[in-house]
Symmetry: C2
Subunit: 205 residues, 2 copies
DNA sequence: CGTATTATGTACCGATTGGTACATTACTGA
DNA sequence: TCAGTAATGTACCAATCGGTACATAATACG
């Protein structure tokens, strides 16, 4: 018998008519701009261009749609901010990260600020699910920078006495703070000046 | 004729029965913990122990009550964080600020985090009033630190080549980020380690 | 074909929302 | 003592909220 992939049963019933990714993009933009509580299902379904039963069928409920939107943001936009971490020189990684991030939070890909820093903390006080998700996202960003700074330290780019953990959390903290500042309309130059101080702090002896 | 203060007419009508400050404390605690949208008027009036008409008579409406609660927070708790700025030595000012702030955002005076960093950014995307208030509060904290670092620089405590403006905004940014981290349950030691890096950055050459 | 299955569109649900009308109560001033 | 004034308590409002029942439409299977 020829080795055959387990015949996955084809999809029954009426096919989904909307593009799940496009719908998530629209939901993300809505939650990002208005926060969780200020985004109503009417707004969401209008922006996503689907009706309520389709939304509930595809995403569960409003809370789960919000969580999916945040995941979508992290995977799509957050990941693009972290892409410069693969730069061989630490200075390039840091500057590339802050440049990309500042472009992003000043409106390049959507509303000003970042959905994580600007909308999740408010929900974290009410929803354990949101609190856990926020903690997980922060851990992920911290972890990425801690690892990157650890190898930079091994390569002799930063002083041996520095603590990669605290420095990684400092860099990630910069992202949170700049995101909030951008929400009120802060200019790129202002944000970049703050980022410069953080970069300098990483390279201090 | 003896110079007399313009006779202020005494208060007419039934006197107010609640303590405005205590009511504001309760409103602040509610908004702080649950954010603006998740705090209903039923919750607010119950926490404040007043009825709706009294709330509207004294504070206008929900949005204005929120703004007043934030002002109350800034004047009461925010000011206590900034009190160490009067320390003669800059290091004492910085460490006193971060110690007080970390105690605060980890729950000493109320819910974890700070109402400014954790609940205002979400509203700033919807309400121009909230956005302007958030910008004003950030300006105030930035300004306090910029002034303090300016005089520290004049006193030779930090290097002449450093930029007090960027450094002041860096310190204030630390407050924002630590506040968000505290919201998810981060421990004091973690927050203090990040603060230490910021303090070190201020004193770098 | 017919049947099973799944998505869509409409129309609706009870609950909750922010906000207010109105009668009552407690005070000041003449 | 009585009129004027302002806060309180109750009870209510229209609007909106998140979520769903139900009939219809579109597919796969046999």
């Amino acid at each position: 018998m020829s080795t055959r992939k387990t015949t996955r049963p084809r999809k029954r019933g009426r096919p989904v008519e909307f593009d799940r990714e496009a719908a998530l993009d629209a939901a993300l933009e809505t939650f990002w701009r208005r926060g969780y509580g200020n985004a109503s299902l009417d707004e969401l379904t209008t922006a996503m261009n689907i009706n309520r039963p389709s939304l509930y069928g595809a995403f569960g409920n409003k809370e789960q749609l919000y969580a999916a939107s945040v995941d979508h943001y992290v995977a799509k936009i957050g990941a693009s901010y972290l892409a410069p971490l693969t730069e061989p020189k630490l200075a390039d990684a840091l500057n590339g990260f802050f440049d990309a991030m500042i472009d992003g939070v000043t409106g390049k890909h959507g509303p000003r600020g970042c959905i994580v820093a600007c909308t999740m903390p408010a929900e974290a006080g009410v929803s354990p699910l949101a609190q856990a998700q926020l903690a997980a996202v922060l851990d992920q960003i911290d972890g990425a920078w801690i690892a990157r700074l650890g190898s930079a330290q091994a390569a002799g780019e930063i002083a041996k006495r520095r603590d990669p953990r605290a420095l990684g959390q400092l860099v990630a903290s910069g992202m949170l703070a700049l995101s909030i500042r951008a929400r009120t309309g802060a200019k790129k130059r202002t944000l970049r000046a703050i980022a410069d101080e953080i970069v300098a702090a990483v390279f201090a002896p």
